[in-house]
């Protein structure tokens, strides 16, 4: 599969292959998707979770560097410097550590004034001290005498015994990365202590630490390269400067923005993210209560705890009221069965007032601005929490359930990949959805048409995601139950499989559209005057989108804001136009 990022050739394939799965699914069969025109090279797009990240075509924007890749580059620089300056490899690495691996600066300064460079880094041309011919020498640290073969020194010749060198080196290494620039113990001497000597005399554990510092020194102060911000991750990402898509995904699977190193936040730009994060910390006192994991049931008022990822809540018996965690409305108003219009992503001023008994506190809060912010913040935070939960669920699925399920169904795990793909899709969509709430908060109120398009696209995407999440989280539970045996399970699983796969596909498609629309600054409304009649007729073709993406963008816009002339597919829930009798997503008969 191709994508706009590339993982360094040397990687072994397993983990990343699993994570970035999806490119080979039938989503990419192009023309199979109903009456909508597809680009002929649609199959080039990345898999589900990154499908919408591919509008730059196959252009490579970054490279993940694993430790071994960095070491290889260091080796190359050392060899290069050593041959150009005609110095030893040890001396070359001393120089490179001092020059922060900036080979060209090193060359310039060296050829301008070699003596000065040598002095400043401690590469002496000749010894300061000449070894006397005595058979014994006195160590300058412990003051004991030793035979010559137990005395060592840097290029300067100051003599210290093996034990004292070891102590000196271990102290330096444990003091931190300064050990890379280690000098002779003599306080008046600046001779560099070479890597050869350090590696020879250090303990295994210290050698390990030293070499870690050595690798890390390569990335410090590099403009093009940054460390993956995930805790415990040792990879770095080298970015092609000039590219405008900053989202990168490390091999450790942490997606982050290369530009601001916050968690990946496409389709929202870095400055919006920074503003939003600042806003959140300023409001954190007010917002803490929102993060509380329990809310009263809107019907019976008993507190209900949210311990699942999707927003569909059910009160405990006898009440059993099903409601939406976000808007506290009845879930029946959200479902595809009623054809209900998903609207809990929308903010309408005053809407909350007096509506929720739960919201005593909200009413007390200063209205308008804070209430408006609260709306977006709560949704942002809920999606964040939900994403964390989903990551844990995916992990659980991969490490525990999948194997059991495969035993039970007598199917190889590879046949169950669609479950993993569904969870990966959920995780990625929660991330995108979360950031669209920051986007929504900063979308100017007076841009009515844009706001309408935004809320529509976001609502569609969110509704699809809720269906997918619920299916993956709750409907799958039945099959994971240990009490259930294969005979009972297999037939149901036969319908579950395509349903989940289709939901994954549909959700991916909605999110692609959402991301495109936001990245284009919702420019469709400009060219279409936001009139629902012109939107209805699919006039968006070729607008706004960058290159290949345009027809997909068009698809989102072509969907009408008025859903009355649509039917919802029984199998995948996609809202199809009345004119087609086959579901455009899954080809299921109406």
């Amino acid at each position: 599969m191709d994508s706009d990022y590339e993982i360094v050739d040397a990687y072994d394939g397993d983990s990343a292959e699993d994570y970035f799965s999806g490119g080979d699914t039938d989503m990419d069969e192009g023309d199979s998707i109903g009456g909508f025109e597809e680009d002929e090279d649609d199959g080039d797009n990345a898999g589900y979770e990154y499908g919408y990240a591919s509008d730059e075509g196959s252009e490579k924007t970054y490279t993940v560097l694993r430790e071994s890749d960095i070491r290889q580059r260091q080796e190359e620089s050392i060899s290069h410097v050593s041959s150009v300056l005609s110095i030893s490899r040890v001396a070359a690495s001393v120089l490179l550590c001092h020059y922060k691996w900036n080979v060209s600066q090193l060359h310039d300064e060296w050829f301008a004034d070699e003596e000065r460079v040598r002095r400043s880094v401690g590469l002496l041309s000749k010894s300061v001290i000449l070894f006397p011919n005595d058979s014994e020498m006195t160590c300058g640290i412990c003051f004991d005498s030793y035979p010559r073969d137990q005395i060592h020194s840097a290029a300067c010749g100051h003599p210290y015994c093996t034990t004292c060198w070891k102590g000196y080196i271990t102290t330096a290494i444990n003091d931190g990365p300064g050990c890379l620039l280690l000098r002779c113990p003599d306080p008046a001497c600046c001779a560099a202590v070479g890597q050869d000597m350090i590696l020879k005399l250090a303990s295994d554990e210290d050698r390990e630490k030293y070499s870690r510092y050595f690798v890390r020194s390569y990335i410090v102060d590099k403009k093009k390269t940054k460390w993956c911000p995930a805790p415990d991750c040792e990879n770095a990402v080298e970015f092609e400067l000039g590219s405008n898509v900053y989202d990168v995904t490390c091999l450790c699977s942490h997606p982050f923005c290369w530009n601001c190193t916050e968690e990946a936040h496409r389709p929202v730009d870095c400055s919006t993210v920074a503003k939003w994060i600042l806003k959140n910390s300023a409001e954190s006192e007010n917002m803490n209560w929102i993060l509380a994991n329990s809310k009263p049931c809107p019907k019976c008022k008993r507190p209900i705890e949210k311990n699942q990822g999707c927003m569909h809540m059910s009160c405990t018996p006898p009440c059993k009221f099903e409601f939406c965690w976000l808007c506290l409305g009845a879930w029946s108003d959200h479902g595809e069965r009623t054809g209900g219009f998903y609207a809990c992503n929308r903010y309408e001023a005053g809407k909350q007032e007096g509506l929720y008994d739960e919201a005593e506190k909200r009413r007390e809060m200063a209205k308008n601005s804070l209430e408006r912010y609260t709306h977006y913040y709560e949704r942002w935070a809920s999606n964040q929490t939900s994403r964390q939960k989903s990551i844990a669920d995916l992990h659980q699925m991969q490490t525990v359930h999948l194997e059991k399920l495969s035993d039970k169904l007598k199917e190889p795990e590879s046949q169950l990949k669609f479950i993993i793909e569904a969870w990966q899709q959920i995780i990625e969509c929660r991330r995108v959805l979360k950031w669209t709430y920051a986007y929504g908060y900063y979308l100017p109120e007076h841009e009515t048409a844009k706001k309408q398009l935004f809320e529509y696209s976001q609502g569609e995407a969110e509704a699809a995601l809720e269906r997918l999440h619920q299916c993956a989280e709750k409907e799958l539970l039945v099959f994971l139950d240990d009490g259930v045996f294969d005979i009972n399970v297999t037939p149901d699983f036969g319908t579950f499989r395509p349903k989940l796969a289709q939901l994954t596909r549909v959700t991916c498609s909605y999110f692609e559209n959402l991301v495109r629309a936001l990245e284009n600054g919702l420019s469709e409304v400009d060219s279409q005057a936001a009139s629902s009649t012109s939107v209805k007729n699919g006039g968006a073709k070729g607008k706004g989108g960058k290159g290949k993406g345009s027809s997909r963008t068009g698809r989102a816009v072509a969907r009408n804001i008025d859903d009355s002339d649509r039917w919802n597919c029984d199998r995948c829930t996609y809202a199809n136009p009345d004119s087609s009798s086959l579901c455009q997503m899954c080809h299921h008969q109406r």
């Binding site: 640290i141 412990c142 003051f143 004991d144 210290y160 004292c164 102290t171 113990p185 003599d186 306080p187």
Partner: protein
């Protein structure tokens, strides 16, 4: 007990400190603990500390000489790089320490610090401020403290 395993280096340094003391400096190990030294430093001439005898304590930690000795003034002193508790701000006692330095070099450096106070790298904010805003007056205070605390003891 603490003295039984004393490294040769410490024994040699001690012997040399006793047999050829540096001018204006005396250091002798305590009888109970050979790693603990009672130190006297004479205030350098032409400094506000001239005529004073300053008592210090010096302790060689287990890691010595890989780690620096711990040194502290016991006599009250008015100096921008020495605080109320007698702690000293001196680079070789911290990151610039090298195992090739010795007790003798440390004490000589402390003596030199008395000759050349450095209010730009202060340990005692107030004294340093005083030194920078009105050096003449600060030097007077230092002299007075020397008279009060560092003489005739």
């Amino acid at each position: 007990m603490a003295n039984s395993n004393l490294p040769r280096r410490i024994i040699k340094e001690t012997q040399r400190l006793l047999s050829e003391p540096a001018p204006g400096i005396s250091a002798s190990p305590s009888e109970e603990n050979m790693r603990y030294f009672n130190v006297m430093v004479l205030g350098p001439s032409q400094s506000p500390y001239e005529g004073g005898v300053f008592k210090l304590e010096l302790f060689l930690p287990e890691e010595y000489p890989m780690a620096p000795p711990k040194v502290r003034f016991l006599t009250k002193i008015y100096h921008p790089n020495i605080d109320k508790l007698g702690r000293i701000c001196l680079d070789i006692l911290k990151d610039k320490w090298s195992p090739a330095l010795q007790i003798r070099t440390v004490l000589l450096s402390i003596q030199a610090l008395l000759s050349a106070p450095n209010p730009d790298d202060p340990l005692s904010e107030n004294v340093a401020k005083h030194w920078k805003s009105n050096e003449v007056e600060a030097v007077e205070t230092a002299k007075e403290w020397t008279r009060l605390y560092a003489t005739g003891a």
